[in-house]
């Protein structure tokens, strides 16, 4: 079990005027090597939940076990946790700070106290993984293009070789090609290191394509949890939560409204294509 959460509650600004209950009684388990997508409307608690996975926020109540570390204990080993759980924030390129790309990617491994050789090896292999050319290593991260910056920043987290990789809207604000590149590098990290991936995104089409499991949060509670096919067939519920649907789901939804009888769990164009072929043959 990669992550095991029982009855987690979290309130921002407890006992102040600005108290907001962000997470209410969350119970959730995520298996090793799962590719999970977290979806939810703005303010539904996705980012708050993500920050619990590596101890940046600590629950007010409830139990949380991440990669064998019990976070319910006040003195939990956060350093060991952060080595195992990598968190990529929204617009990660805004956290670049070093003089060179190499040094920036090396920041995490250095904090882990690794040897020089190990750090060098990790930086170059991570650069290769994210698709940055070796020649970029000595450039200033601020000179890179937008997409390259994003990849360099993600590399800064991947170089710590986390078993669990949490990404908060990693493809926001990128062009279609940049988006594909980021999704591809997440996929290759997922396969290469058998890592658990937790991705927060608003792009339902991409989620339908890449994730094994979708968890929908609504006002701090888990509203839906299942495979993309299961979750995205709950059209009305998703729409009432202020969420979108994958484009194909929308098509299927409209078709069914017109009296056609298309299975609701068709969510990608391939699946729809298959279905049409099969029904056409009959």
């Amino acid at each position: 079990m990669s992550i095991d959460i029982k009855n987690l509650c979290y309130t921002y600004g407890e006992n102040t005027l600005f108290e907001v209950a962000a997470l209410k009684d969350i119970t959730l388990s995520i298996n090793d090597g799962e590719y999970v997508a977290l979806i939810g409307h703005t303010g539904s608690g996705k980012t708050t939940l993500a920050q619990h996975f590596n101890g940046l926020l600590r629950a007010n109540s409830g139990q949380i076990m991440v990669e064998g570390i019990d976070l319910s204990i006040k003195k939990a080993d956060l350093m060991a946790l952060r080595q195992r759980v990598g968190l990529v924030f929204q617009y990660p390129e805004y956290q670049l700070f070093e003089e060179t790309v190499f040094k920036d990617i090396a920041f995490g491994p250095k904090n882990l106290g690794l040897s020089k050789e190990e750090i060098t090896e990790r930086v170059y292999s991570t650069m290769e993984l994210v698709g940055l050319d070796k020649s970029e290593a000595e450039r200033s991260p601020f000179e890179l293009s937008g997409g390259q910056k994003r990849r360099a920043a993600i590399a800064g987290v991947l170089s710590m070789r986390p078993k669990v990789l949490v990404l908060d809207e990693p493809i926001a604000g990128l062009d279609p090609q940049g988006k594909e590149e980021i999704l591809a590098l997440i996929k290759s990290y997922h396969i290469q290191y058998n890592a658990t991936i937790i991705i927060i995104s608003h792009n339902m089409d991409d989620i339908a394509r890449v994730a094994d499991r979708v968890i929908a949060l609504n006002q701090g509670t888990i509203a839906l949890d299942g495979t993309p096919r299961e979750v995205f067939s709950h059209y009305e519920e998703l729409i009432s939560m202020g969420l979108g649907l994958p484009t194909i789901s929308k098509v299927v939804y409209e078709l069914n409204k017109k009296g056609k009888n298309v299975p609701a769990d068709i969510i990608t164009s391939e699946q729809l294509f298959d279905y049409i072929l099969r029904t056409a043959k009959r």
């Binding site: 940046l56 968190l87 956290q95 904090n111 882990l112």
Partner: protein, 277 residues
Amino acid sequence: MKDITLGQYYPIESPIHRLDPRVKILAAFLMIVLAFIAGTFIGYAIIAVLLALITITAHIPFVSLVRGMKSVLFLLLFTFILNTFFFTEGQPLFKWWIFSITGQGLLRAIFMALRLVLLVTAATMLTLTTSPIALTDGIEKLLKPLQKIGFPAHEIAMMMTIALRFIPTLMEETDRIMKAQAARGAVFDRGSLWRRAKAIIPLLIPLFVSAFRRADELAQAMEARCYHGGEGRTRLKVLKLGLNDAMAVLVLLLFTAFIIADKIYLVPLLPFLSGGI
């Protein structure tokens, strides 16, 4: 960070919140001046009563005022101790080594502490009940006459508005960058002073980069909407003095009269109370 009430706005509805910011700014100044004019416990009590009245009318919980006092506690203690030990006129009440405490010294220390408390409370009340935007609007209006001698009142007010508006944004940004770097194993709160100073670099550089980026974007957005300074600029909310403001001014003048009367008639009668200040 959470305990800093000084300079924070308390967003609720109250008669005090609705007052014209100019009245509130001048009132705060007046109260600060009064705190220095007053020379008896009665005088301080009058100001305290006035501030308590304002606090109640503004629906501000007293707890938050006390909490705000925490941030100046050190200054308060420091002035108190300094005044107690280093004011050596008069008969000593207590003597030890080179230190001696005199009645007058003690009184002076108490007065000084009271003044500080009242001063901070008055300033805190101003910011608690006036939104930053209203505050800068008021300042701009009050400084307007100085424009005749070339003082850039509008520009200063605009700069203050922008600075105030970006405080929460930058705080949020700081929090996010701190978390992002902590996720990469950065440690901010442990180790020697040197290590901690060095640990700030991964926080400061991205913060500066983003502050400059934001400044640039804001400048362009303002330019795109034809901002060209204060000349001929009209306001969405025109400040207007109303009946409430007149009443507030009346109350203030009444209290001011009390304190001046107290100063003129009571202080000469009770030379000990004045503490020779």
